[in-house]
Symmetry: C2
Subunit: 210 residues, 2 copies
Amino acid sequence: MTSPSTANSERARLVHLAMATTARTGENTTRALLAKEARMPRARIDAIFPTDDDLFDAILERWYAPDIAIMEEVIESDLPIRRKFYEFFARRFRREKDRFREDPAAFAVYCEIGTDKFENVRGYIDLADHYLSELIAQAQEEGYFAGLGINRALSLINQMVVCYTLPQMLMILHEDRLEEGKLATIIDTLFDGLSGDARGAAPVAGLRIA
Amino acid sequence: MTSPSTANSERARLVHLAMATTARTGENTTRALLAKEARMPRARIDAIFPTDDDLFDAILERWYAPDIAIMEEVIESDLPIRRKFYEFFARRFRREKDRFREDPAAFAVYCEIGTDKFENVRGYIDLADHYLSELIAQAQEEGYFAGLGINRALSLINQMVVCYTLPQMLMILHEDRLEEGKLATIIDTLFDGLSGDARGAAPVAGLRIA
């Protein structure tokens, strides 16, 4: 019998191999290909990953584990709220940028697969939204983002920092345009400027110019 | 001999046909294919578009003409500065969204070609930056965006409104998350919150937490 720790390390090794294979082939790795790459019987692979989707979910779990650790660490820290917001985004951005720089081609492959399999990814995005909502609630207790429901504030903040959260941005924009110093200014801008009051940008109803 | 107005309308008709062909085939239309589609001698096409790149540039010119008209109209209007900023982005966003809804597949093709041929597109992006810089200078005369150089303000503003300017966003995000009401809140947030002062988001040098 395989001991639990041996089974775990075998699973981890296979996930690692599947990720390297995906990076090399440019396509999501199936159990059939993984069995071939690992030179293992297919039945052994299937015992660990009952479906191809289970294999993909295991890859996703590995991909997002550091992000979840970062978010939890920041939420639980005793930093002032503006600093929490900054670290919440900056640390994950830094990590994503490192991953992009390490292997831009593999990064592009993962972005594409993530788009194709958005239903699997959605849970991680929802989790990030959940943590950000906690931070927004803390900020609102201190008087920031007045007059906005949490979901509205969440959507607006997500839109204003999207350059630092959406992995594709590292490929679409020139990477050197994305700087942590700019992210800090954006966070300060949010804290001093974001509220539910209409302050003159929107057209006045009935007076929309032609 | 062909009169100038007939030549212009023939050119316009060919650009229109090339765009329809690109939308259908999913690939940038060459002069060879255009000649076939138009059932015209290749020499006639070549007289109008000396290179394939000239044909592509003519397509780009048609694609961006309404954006340029919008930007010029807004710049020259006597709207208050916040309203100018809003209209500068909202009108182009509305137009892009209409184009996306009309034919999402063709829209995706144009986004992809635009990415591949970024050198041709760059001039239009630079022009939009030029107009936005004019608006930023106007805003700074009124005391907004204090302590920021124009290029820094330009980059920060472009990043914070990127959901409403980058065509890909209509495909990456759920389109119904992008709302003109949110754009107005983002513009008000910029006017009330964006400055060059560090106000607590960034880590204090030497005290960066582990």
